[in-house]
């Protein structure tokens, strides 16, 4: 078993997560400027996901192989999403 590796401060990360969630909720409540609101909402969501992945899941401390196993599917999912755009966004 690995010796004690450096721990991120889990509670601090949790506070950040709640803060980001608050920002996202606030952005959604602001009337008008939908594009900006949506950008903020998904930027905060991505930030939250990264915080959880890098800190709670310890990706920050794992060997490159684990990073690769986590990253490659995200890329492939993006490829799928992008390729679906012509058929489903522009044709409807």
């Amino acid at each position: 078993m690995a010796t004690d590796k450096a721990h991120p401060n889990y509670v601090a990360i949790w506070v950040w997560l709640l803060a980001l969630m608050g920002i996202g909720l606030a952005a959604s409540a602001i009337p008008g400027a939908r594009v900006i609101a949506v950008t903020v909402i998904f930027a905060t969501a991505t930030a939250k996901a990264l915080l959880v992945a890098l800190n709670f899941m310890h990706l920050r401390f794992e060997p490159r192989l684990i990073y690769a196993i986590a990253l490659v599917p995200v890329l492939f999912a993006l490829v799928l999403a992008v390729t679906l755009v012509p058929d489903f966004v522009f044709r409807r």
Binding site: L17, L18, I41, F56, P63, I69, A70, A77, L84, F90
Partner: protein, 187 residues
Amino acid sequence: MSSSVQAPAIPGIPAGKVGVWWFLASEIMLFGGLIASFIVFRLGSAGWSGEAAHLSLTIGAINTLVLLTSSMTVVQAFAAAERGHASTLQLFLGLTILGGLVFLGFKAVEYTTEIRAGFTPASGIFWSFYYTMTGLHALHVLAGVVVNAIMFAGARIRNPRRVELAGLYWHFVDIVWIFLFPLLYLS
């Protein structure tokens, strides 16, 4: 333990962790495919925000809070397991399980309310996606609760490595919700 491993494994990665990450990779593709389909349909149609307005933002936000917190408690459980503090481990595992159950409880309330209001999976494409995505996610939450409960109940299998692996799965389920919430409730 590790001293009897004969294989020149990539240093420091136990088998269980490799296995769980590969499993999570396949799950990323599963939810990724579902979410990608949702996004392109959403971008291609108008009027979904009207449908989404029928969702309870409050419950969704509470559920997000609950899952985020339970992510924190499960990793605290792992930290306690690493330090060998059995009672702290049990406490945080219990809180995590509780969080999962609360999430599922709220989800059940939501579903009941929505179905009573006439919004079933057959009510149109938004609702089809909503029920499928949250339903599949809820099944994953349930599976996570079961795994955590088995560890809570069984001291023999409650070692740091296993807590970490269960935690990895739980964090993944949390990350999926981190994206589902804004996709369904906020946009």
